[in-house]
Symmetry: C2
DNA sequence: GTCAACCATTTTGTATACAAGATTACAGGC
DNA sequence: GCCTGTAATCTTGTATACAAAATGGTTGAC
């Protein structure tokens, strides 16, 4: 498993997302180095990148640990994510062109297919493509980057959420309304729907809390 | 000028903000190392951190250059900043306590003092404290971090903006309205005012463009 | 005269060696 | 018996050495 610093970053990130490295766990540089067959230097580079993303926490002279976010912290992250996605949707409603709509609608259909075959993992995948299509349609490359970065950071929690009963079907129907609003150029409606689509509130808040307890 | 990687990061960041390193300029690792009297290792660490922040662009195997953002890119960044600050204001309106309001009002008064003595640099400084007080009053540590990070990234451009004629006085009067809305607990009004306070639009867009041309 | 290929030089990426600070265990005192 | 101080060990941070890739210049051919 010979790796370079970039692949190493992905390896460790994947290890964190899949739970191979658990939240709060200490990431020892020499252990990782021997594990991946490299020296400490690229390991440190990878850890710093993950620290910048926020996946791990690096305390000076005291090593790196996998970030363990408390419920309220995760809630705050979803709160911000909701606002950013809402903004992307509002911009998309105003600025979208034919190509944008084509990819959004194509992604929506793939979501419907996945939901029809009750394939949660597939839906998760297609859902991501759908949201990315909206980011792209905002025609704000910076906003797109911010959304992608935060989305990636929230990926593990999103994944847990989808397992909740009926969430997939509700998500799908919400997608429909969002596409309608964007197509109609109704920026405020798109903003409103996307904010509620992402935000964790009501029952879903409880779902989130309980999923974090595992 | 013996430096460690953290101080080094600040040094280089400062160099970029003050224009010591100009946009598009190539940042040579050995040059920086000799300049600050350290080896290449901490220089690389500092550069990676700056790359993660977005202040510089690191192309694999091809070195680091100071990020040069085109006008539309800077516009997009202000667009997102406006939305995040608006969100912070809305949350602050709903969640603020006495201590929050005390620091917000104190910051507002310091802004007034600076404006009264026509001290642009001082106003710039107090303005930052004012906005930070609002981030803090949102009681969302994650949102606060995001705002601080983006604010820092936009710092050089903000600085240029304030030099525009009368901008300081307009900014100050807008601050007044924002504080009123937050005090009154009017989240939507706070959101609206802050969005417009930050957003670059109309004449100010032209001002920004021309300031980037220098 | 211009274009292309090859070689030299420069520069990034990785490995290893060394220094300094932090953690922990052990011993001595209260 | 418990707490505290000190020392040993372990881990991070930095320096240097080495490898690989990219850039630039020179030379040769068309």
């Amino acid at each position: 498993m010979t790796a370079t610093s970039k692949t190493l970053r992905d390896e460790i990130e994947n290890g964190i997302v899949t739970g191979d490295f658990q939240p709060g766990e200490r990431l020892d540089e020499v252990q990782l180095a021997t594990r991946y067959g490299v020296s400490r230097t690229p390991v440190r580079e990878a850890l710093m990148q993950l620290g910048a993303i926020g996946l791990i926490e690096i305390r000076p002279r005291r090593g790196a640990v996998v970030a363990e976010h408390g419920p309220e912290r995760v809630f705050e992250m979803f709160e911000v994510m909701a606002e950013l996605e809402a903004m992307a949707g509002a911009l998309a409603a105003r600025r979208h062109n034919e190509a944008d709509m084509a990819s959004i609608i194509a992604a929506l259909e793939q979501c419907q297919n996945a939901a029809a075959s009750d394939d949660t993992d597939q839906y998760y995948y297609e859902n991501e493509i759908f949201h990315r299509a909206i980011y792209s349609a905002s025609h704000s490359s910076f906003l797109e980057e911010q959304c992608l970065a935060l989305h990636r950071r929230l990926r593990p929690y999103r994944r847990l959420q989808l397992r909740v009963r009926n969430r997939m079907k509700m998500s799908l129907s919400e997608h429909g309304g969002i596409v309608e609003a964007i197509t109609a150029g109704d920026a405020e409606q798109a903003r409103f729907l996307l904010r509620n689509h992402i935000a964790v509130q009501g029952d879903r808040f409880g779902d989130l809390i309980s999923s974090l307890k595992t």
